[in-house]
């Protein structure tokens, strides 16, 4: 199938053409949402933070909002700030300009309050929408592609059906020159030796272990056990007993190819191939960090069923078992439970996932996109001041 995408000034290719309304603090999020509602055709990304951030979180936060706006699926961005937050709308806009795409900004404290900011925002959003409408699709290929990988509400079937089937699709993408990103660092714990054995260089293996150890240290520094939250209550009810068991199932989403790069949360890859990126196991903030890295589409596997989507990249949902698929058909695109029943093979479901990735890039809306599921939250590594 010939792919067509929007080649952006930085060379990356988008397969959606969003005008993004982006708040720089939780305080301006409702204004951003209101503007998006008043200008159909735009989208917005919620904000759960933005103020009183500590060092490590400032880096995570800045990288996430900047790279979300810079994402190739975004044609243009309108930033809505309050004024006094850690990274103001003007500061964010100055950084986002490096991507060479239109970016406008307003701040509630200096643009006349809430109503005036909404009025001005609507005018700017309509201008950006008119600009974006002139974007042209050009021929693109799988080598332009980064597939994001996520699992949420995993069960013991995830690791033998939906995840390895996703891995089979990922191997095909990588063999054609594309990339895939696996996050959820706490879900590498117990399976890190399998990942390091695939590392292209010793430095990549070391970085993989460094991220895992850092995660374990964070947990212990709070006087907690990893098992307090991983596997989750829902994972345990489904039959997953330990983080090691969950991890061994989780990592099979990344297929089997050599690992070429290890990245921090929301970083943009510089290499092609199988890539690791530091995110938490919590699916919403993990999805946001992985997609900020530039994934144009995400494959999200689930055992228990979840509606989670994203405002920037379409999310394809794959269920690990048929019961969940039947219960939540409105939110799940592909059922990998057929593998458990002996009706399909891992490779067969992998081919279906691969075909759907290409169709979604070409414009088909997966269920999460049809349902308007645009959950967006940014990871907090430390505490609030």
């Amino acid at each position: 199938m010939q792919l067509y995408g929007y080649r952006r000034p930085d060379g990356r290719v988008g397969f959606r053409n969003h005008v993004l309304i982006l708040p720089t603090a939780i305080c301006s999020a409702s204004v951003a949402e209101k503007i998006a509602q008043l200008v159909p055709g735009t989208t917005w990304a919620n904000n759960n933070t933005g103020c009183c951030l500590l060092g490590e979180d400032i880096d995570i936060y800045r990288r996430t909002i900047v790279n979300t706006a810079g994402h190739p699926n975004v044609a243009a961005t309108l930033i809505i700030g309050l004024g006094c937050e850690t990274i103001s709308a003007a500061m964010a806009a100055a950084e986002i300009e490096k991507f060479g795409k239109p970016v406008r900004h307003l701040a509630i404290q200096t643009d006349g309050g809430v109503r005036k900011t909404i009025e001005k925002g609507v005018i700017l959003a309509k201008e950006l929408l008119a600009y974006a409408s002139k974007s042209k699709r050009e021929p693109a290929s799988v080598s332009d592609l980064i597939v994001g990988l996520e699992c949420g509400g995993s069960d013991p079937a995830s690791g033998i059906t939906a995840n390895p089937a996703t891995g089979a699709a990922v191997d095909r993408v990588i063999d054609e020159g594309g990339s895939a990103i696996l996050g959820e660092t706490d879900e590498w714990i117990g399976a890190e030796m399998i990942l390091t054995s695939r590392a292209k260089t010793k430095a990549i293996a070391r970085d993989t272990l460094r991220l895992v150890r850092r995660f374990e240290r964070h947990v212990k520094a709070h006087g907690s056990n990893l098992s307090d939250g991983q596997p989750t209550r829902g994972n345990q009810a489904a039959g997953l007993s330990t983080i090691e068991e969950k991890s061994l199932g989780c990592i099979s989403k990344l297929g089997s190819r050599e690992i070429s790069e290890v990245l921090e949360y929301s970083e943009i890859p510089t290499k092609k191939g199988a890539i690791l990126l530091d995110t938490p196991g919590f699916d919403v903030t993990s999805v946001v960090g992985i997609i900020a890295g530039g994934c144009q589409v995400m494959v999200f596997t689930t055992g228990l069923g979840t509606p989670v989507g994203n405002p920037i990249a379409p999310v394809i949902k794959v269920s690990s078992n048929s019961l969940t698929y039947e219960r939540m058909k409105d939110a799940i695109d592909i059922n990998a439970g057929t593998i458990l029943e002996g009706k399909e093979t891992i490779a067969g479901v992998g081919n279906r996932i691969y075909a759907m990735i290409l169709r979604v890039l070409s414009g088909e809306m997966p269920k999460a996109e049809q349902l308007g599921q645009i959950q967006y939250g940014i990871w907090r590594a430390t505490t609030e001041l």
């Binding site: 690791g159 117990g190 907690s224 056990n225 039959g239 007993s241 983080i243 090691e244 199932g249 078992n321």
Partner: protein, 106 residues
């Protein structure tokens, strides 16, 4: 997957736990074939869909193997056919020891 019967699977030949692929009852005889060798495990508990049961007798402190990898340790003796879950195994990773932290003055 190494082998399957209609009711349970063993993912790797090294594993000491099997996975129920439908709800199973106490007393059910589960035929397991690993690399062509047939054997039968009689269940000592009800095993829900996707939950694990012991394929052999496991001693307290023994490692639990699934995917051919360590997924935790047994916290007590587990007999073949028993449900294997959080009540009798635990993770070996990311465990904070309050007594150890106290002795280190944290």
């Amino acid at each position: 997957m190494k082998e399957s019967s209609a009711s349970a699977i063993v993912i790797n030949e090294a594993d000491n736990v099997g996975l129920a692929v439908k709800d199973l009852k106490t007393g059910d005889s589960i035929a397991i074939s690993v690399d062509g060798t047939e054997r039968t495990v009689t269940l000592k508990n009800d095993i829900k869909f996707l939950h694990k049961f012991a394929l052999t007798d496991i001693k307290s402190g023994d490692k639990i193997l699934k995917y051919g990898q360590v997924i935790g340790g047994a916290t007590r003796d587990i007999a073949a056919g028993e449900h294997v879950h959080t009540h009798n195994i635990k993770s070996l990773r990311g465990q904070y020891s309050r007594s150890k932290a106290r002795s280190e003055g944290k």
